[in-house]
């Protein structure tokens, strides 16, 4: 497109001028196609059961009622898949060499550490059937104190993870005048840094994947980091091909692999010949 713009306006006519975007009419008229708008024939649909608590022990997860509901192909808990994961979900940005990253599995085993932490998934023939069955999954929680304030969390009075000795993941040395550094080098003060770490797309789970007979997977959705981190679970990176239709909230995205992606890998293993689409972002929308 840049070549065309340059041809039309010449370099001098582009630099320093205001350009109206060509993609806007489709986005403004409802004609644009996002991942959720695609129709994947034969796809399984996955709904996620999530924690309503910021911190809790998971005492039990019962999917038996969900398994008997119409259209349901599978209902899986963390315990069902504990032996399946090659590793906990990696963090794409190890900020310091000694950063502590608590074990984070795609489906929680015995502890949930944030509202929206996933405890079970249901795969069904339609999105509505998956969501109805997810509502029938019975989870027994024992609520624990939650660290919700940065200053309080830094004191370690309340631990965010039962298996981590401290809430501090890493330490960055503060320079004498952070404000001056921010102005000169574009760095952000601590509160903003924390805010940046909480970036979330409007619909972070936008993802569909389509398997082919040759074993390759066409993956439609968040791309680079998700792809790089996919390897340990479902094979080499070169077996996947990413496509990019419209993706919501691309202006700010997560640098951790989202649990939904790993769970979706599982859906791929569950025998859907064509692919699957994920439903339910409840608890993943941050304000």
């Amino acid at each position: 497109m840049s070549a065309t713009v340059l041809e039309e306006h010449g370099a001098a006519g582009v630099v320093g001028t205001r350009m109206l975007r060509r993609e806007d009419p489709a986005l403004l008229s409802g004609e644009a196609r996002f991942v959720h708008d695609l129709v994947v024939p034969g796809a399984l649909h996955m709904a996620v059961v999530r924690s309503p608590y910021a911190h809790a022990r998971v005492m039990s997860v019962d999917v038996s009622a969900a398994l008997g509901m119409p259209g349901v192909v599978a209902a899986l808990t963390g315990a069902d898949l504990a032996g399946e994961w090659a590793s906990p979900m990696p963090c794409a940005w190890p900020v310091t060499a000694d950063m502590q990253s608590p074990k984070h599995l795609p489906l929680a085993l015995d502890e949930v550490c944030y509202v929206g932490d996933a405890v079970a998934v249901v795969l069904a023939r339609s999105g509505a059937e998956a969501q109805d069955a997810a509502a029938a999954v019975a989870v027994d929680y024992e609520e624990l104190p939650a660290a919700v304030d940065l200053e309080e969390a830094a004191r370690d009075d309340v631990l965010a993870h039962l298996d981590a000795p401290s809430n501090r993941a890493y330490t960055w040395e503060l320079v004498p005048d952070p404000e001056a550094v921010r102005r000169s080098a574009g760095q952000r003060p601590r509160e903003q840094e924390a805010q940046a770490g909480a970036e979330a797309a409007l619909r972070p789970d936008a993802r569909a994947q389509v398997g082919h007979r040759d074993g390759r997977v066409r993956h439609i959705g968040w791309a680079v980091l998700q792809q790089l981190q996919r390897g340990p679970r479902c094979g080499p990176v070169h077996t996947c091909r990413h496509l990019h239709p419209g993706l919501p909230g691309q202006a700010g995205g997560p640098d951790r692999r989202l649990p939904e992606a790993a769970e979706a890998d599982q859906g791929e293993q569950e025998g859907s010949p064509h692919g699957q689409v994920i439903h339910d972002t409840r608890g993943t929308l941050h304000g």
Partner: protein, 157 residues
């Protein structure tokens, strides 16, 4: 169950499960996918449509509640020849969108807002959009687009 409603001027009769949401009826039964589902919890406003002229969040209404109603979605806003509605044109002109996912809900919400406040102040626009989240723009250009459209004289009340 059978639900009959008028969507973008066309009468539609659809067979849906009783717990089908209006947004599911629009997206899955009528394939009008311009209305988006962002949160499932009425926080984000991406699913906003007009029901009998008023903005509603279609993820919080059953399709059955729209029986007999006139629904307008983002697909029904532009003129038949494709000419953008003045509000759509203002969003384009003022760079009121980036990824475009929240945009249909934003546009429908402000269409309803301007019906109630044809000459809104900036504060009224910001308050009127409190039920719609955008993750790209920081809202400023959306507010500028609404004010530009409101003051353009091109909006038919």
């Amino acid at each position: 169950m059978q639900v009959t409603l008028t969507v973008n001027g066309r009468r539609a009769s659809i067979d849906v499960a009783p717990n089908t949401l209006l947004v599911q009826a629009l997206r899955e039964h009528l394939r009008l996918t311009g209305t988006h589902v962002g949160c499932d919890t009425a926080q984000c406003g991406a699913c906003t449509v007009l029901m009998n002229g008023d903005a509603v969040k279609s993820c919080n209404l059953l399709a059955a509640q729209a029986e007999g109603a006139e629904i307008t979605t983002i697909e029904g806003l532009a003129a038949a020849d494709g000419t953008l509605h003045p509000m759509q044109a203002a969003f384009k002109e003022c760079h009121g969108l980036q990824c475009g996912f929240c945009t249909p809900g934003m546009v429908m919400a402000v269409a309803s807002l301007l019906k109630e406040h044809p000459n809104p102040s900036e504060a009224e626009v910001r308050e009127g959009l409190e039920g719609n989240l955008c993750r790209c723009t920081g809202y400023h250009n959306i507010v500028q687009a609404v004010l530009a459209a409101a003051h353009s004289g091109e909006l038919v009340p």
